[in-house]
Each structure stands twice: as structure tokens, then as C-alpha cells.
């Protein structure tokens, strides 16, 4: 990092209200975690979009890569028996 810089990149996740999942909403630059949290508040929740925030150093995120998408997710493709529609239930049976 050069002497004058905007600091490292952080990814921001917002929870709209308790009970809901944290959703990625964008990124920002900040020098430390306190500043990252305050910047996230100012940048991504100006209209009460959230009641809780996570900020994560972008460098700490491990991501799958699109070239390997086929083989990587392949194990799920031939396991239709993981879905309820795979099973046949005799007619007339209720609540299942």
C-alpha cells in the first residue's frame, strides 16, 4: 500500500431486522474495523436499511472460482433423492 491510500477493502453485510439473514450489500475502504463499521453505517444504512452490520476484510474472504463451477458443484447434480418430489406417496395420505 502506498503512503497515501484509502486503506484496505471491506465487505459489508446488513441484517434488515432480527430474524433475517445477513445480506451482502457492497464494500468500502477503511483503515481499521471500527472505522469500517462506522463507514458501513453511513454508507449502507442511511435510510434505516439495517439493524445489524458485519464488516469483513475483503482479503479474508475465500471464494469459489467460476472456472471450476462444473466439477465443484457436480456432486449435488445427480442426487435428486434429496428433494421431496423424488418420493411417491400413495394417494389419500394427508399432511406429508
Amino acid at each position: 500500500m502506498s503512503k497515501d491510500s484509502q486503506g484496505p477493502l471491506w465487505e459489508v453485510f446488513v441484517q434488515k431486522k432480527a430474524g433475517q439473514p445477513f445480506v451482502h450489500c457492497g464494500s468500502l475502504h477503511a483503515y481499521d474495523k471500527e472505522m469500517a463499521l462506522e463507514n458501513a453505517r453511513d454508507l449502507y444504512t442511511r435510510r434505516s436499511e439495517g439493524s445489524a452490520l458485519w464488516v469483513v476484510p475483503a482479503a479474508a474472504i475465500v471464494a469459489s472460482s467460476p472456472e471450476d463451477i462444473g466439477p465443484f458443484f457436480e456432486p449435488a447434480n445427480d442426487k435428486v433423492y434429496r428433494h421431496p418430489t423424488f418420493y411417491q406417496i400413495p394417494e389419500g395420505v394427508k399432511y406429508i
Binding site: 502506498s2 497515501d4 484509502q6 457492497g26 468500502l28 483503515y31 481499521d32 467460476p66 472456472e67
Partner: protein, 314 residues
């Protein structure tokens, strides 16, 4: 592993299916370059766009007007930041993007090189300039690059207040005293054609935008957007009792839209080249803000480093 032909095929089929391209996906080098240029220009425009309106924060005519304008200008700063991070997903660095703005290498929307002379200009900017920007940004919500599209969706949600607060100012003035109405008309006279330029040169003179349409970065052409803008704005001006300063403006039943005069494209290119009324002032203000803030960035960085050392020492 896929070879180059497959990668390109895959990319093209994504565009055909209206799927999004994401940062780690393979993309043609020119697509990447085009996006970095377009998104960063867009970001610069948001940041520079804070200046003409910032000019009136300390002179807003009421406390309410001042709060609204502050919130609007703060939003524009936010829009700039969403867009810079979208450009960074393509491998550009923030420092490099800002450097290009500060040295005058990068462009921003020509509209922000015009001065805001009266309070009515703040009304006209919100109504017309944000109105035109929204038209462009609504279209860009469907752009093919995922992070750009997501930034646009956020921005569009925030923009509608910008246009409405501008129109509200225009209403106050247009239905106020004779002098206020004159002020509103004067602002419309000065902002109309520069706003029309915001959509860019006519399609026939805009080779970049043809490629951008093919890549689905742009979804509507400059001329289409300009037409849409005029069609929507005429009635709003009529409601205010103001006259759009174009003698050729008239309804064309055959095309179900208005005929209108082209803006002066020579002026447009001249402003882009750096010769608009405020280019110098804008760039100086931006550079001053950046260098005045240098000590804050340095201190914040030093503080962060020191805390890290303390943790290691503990």
C-alpha cells in the same frame, strides 16, 4: 480447463440469455476496459456533482431546505463510493481511479461544469439533472455487469427523492412572486440544453455506445433516452407554467413523442475538453479537498498500524 474459444462462447451466451457477468468470470479485455472507464466516469460525476449543490448548503433559504440539500449531497457522495467499489471489482485500484480524476485524465459528466447561480438552480438541478441521471440509471439497473447493476439498483432507490425535492423547489418559486417565477424560468433556460447533453452525442456520432449496446452494458441508446426525457419533462414544465427554451419543441403525433432541437454539440465537446465555465474551479476544489484530507488518512493509517502492533505485543 476451458480454452479461449469456450470462454468467449460462454461469455456471449451469458449476454444472450440476459445473465449477469460477475467479477471472477472470464470477460474480454475490452469489455473490462470499457466498464472501468464508464463506471469510474460515473463515480467521478457523482463526486464532482456534489460541488455545484454544495455551493448552496450554507445559503439555503430555510432550515428544512438546508437539511434536505445536505442529505442529497451526502447521497451523491455515497453513490460515488458504491460506483468506485464496483469499478474496483474489475481490478482497478481506488487510488489509481482518484489519481486519474485529480490530474484531469479522467472525464466526468459535462453538466457539472456549469455554475449554480441562484437558489432556483438547485431546484432545476434536482428536477432536470437528477431527472436525466435517473433515466440513464434506471436503464443501467439491467446492465450486464453484476456489481454495476447492484450499485444502480441502490442508487435508483435513493434518487427519486432527489428529483422530487428539486421539483418541489421549482413549485415554490413558480407559484410564488413574479420575481421568484422569473428566477425559476431563468434557471430552466440555462439548464435545459446542458441537461439534454447528459445523454451523450447523437447515436450516429457515438461509436462507443454501439459496442456498449452489444455488450449489454447500455440497454437503450443516447437518442432513445433523450427522447424519453423530453417526453416526460414537457408536461412537468407546463404544470409549473414555465416555458422550455426551445422554439422547435412540438408534439409529433406520428411518433407519439416531441420533436425538439439538438443541443449545441460544439459546446458539449468544448466543455468536455476542459473549457466549460467551471471546469477549472471543480478540479481545483476536488484536488484541494483531497490534499487537505491527506493528514487525516495518514493519521488513521498510523493509528491502525499502532493498534495492530499493540495486539501483537500483548
Amino acid at each position: 480447463m476451458s480454452n479461449a474459444v469456450d470462454l468467449e462462447k460462454n461469455f456471449n451466451s451469458k449476454l444472450e440469455k440476459n445473465d449477469f457477468v460477475e467479477p471472477k468470470d472470464w470477460m474480454p479485455e475490452n469489455y473490462r476496459k470499457h466498464l472501468i472507464r464508464q463506471i469510474s466516469q460515473h463515480a467521478h460525476s457523482e463526486i464532482i456533482g456534489m460541488l455545484p449543490e454544495g455551493n448552496w448548503i450554507s445559503r439555503a433559504p430555510s432550515l428544512r431546505a438546508k437539511m434536505v440539500l445536505l442529505a442529497k449531497v451526502q447521497d451523491e457522495g455515497g453513490h460515488g463510493l458504491y460506483l468506485y467499489t464496483a469499478a474496483e471489482t474489475l481490478g482497478a485500484s481506488r487510488d489509481e481511479l482518484l489519481g486519474a480524476l485529480h490530474t484531469g485524465k479522467a472525464k466526468y459528466s459535462s453538466i457539472f461544469n456549469y455554475p449554480t447561480l441562484t437558489w432556483a438552480d438547485i431546484g432545476a438541478v434536482g428536477w432536470l439533472v437528477d431527472g436525466a441521471a435517473i433515466m440513464n440509471q434506471v436503464m443501467l439497473q439491467r446492465t450486464s455487469y453484476g456489481p454495476y447493476s447492484r450499485a444502480m439498483i441502490r442508487i435508483c432507490k435513493e434518487e427519486s427523492f432527489h428529483q422530487r425535492q428539486g421539483y418541489e423547489i421549482m413549485c415554490h418559486l413558480s407559484f410564488g412572486t413574479e420575481a421568484q417565477k422569473e428566477m425559476a424560468q431563468d434557471a430552466l433556460n440555462r439548464w435545459w440544453f446542458p441537461t439534454m447533453m447528459m445523454f451523450g452525442p447523437p447515436d450516429k456520432d457515438s461509436p462507443n455506445s454501439e459496442q456498449a449496446m452489444k455488450w449489454r452494458i447500455k440497454r437503450e441508446t443516447n437518442d432513445e433516452l433523450r427522447q424519453k426525457f423530453v417526453d416526460r419533462t414537457v408536461e412537468q414544465a407546463e404544470f409549473l407554467g414555465l416555458t422550455i427554451p426551445d422554439k422547435n419543441l412540438k408534439w409529433n403525433e406520428a411518433k407519439k413523442g416531441y420533436d425538439f432541437s439538438e443541443p449545441n454539440w460544439e459546446e458539449f465537446y468544448n466543455v468536455i475538453k476542459g473549457n466549460g465555465p467551471c471546469n477549472k474551479e471543480r478540479l481545483e476544489a476536488r484536488n484541494k479537498a483531497h490534499s487537505d484530507g491527506a493528514w487525516v488518512r495518514e493519521a488513521a493509517m498510523a493509528y491502525a498500524e499502532k493498534k495492530k502492533e499493540n495486539i501483537l505485543a500483548a
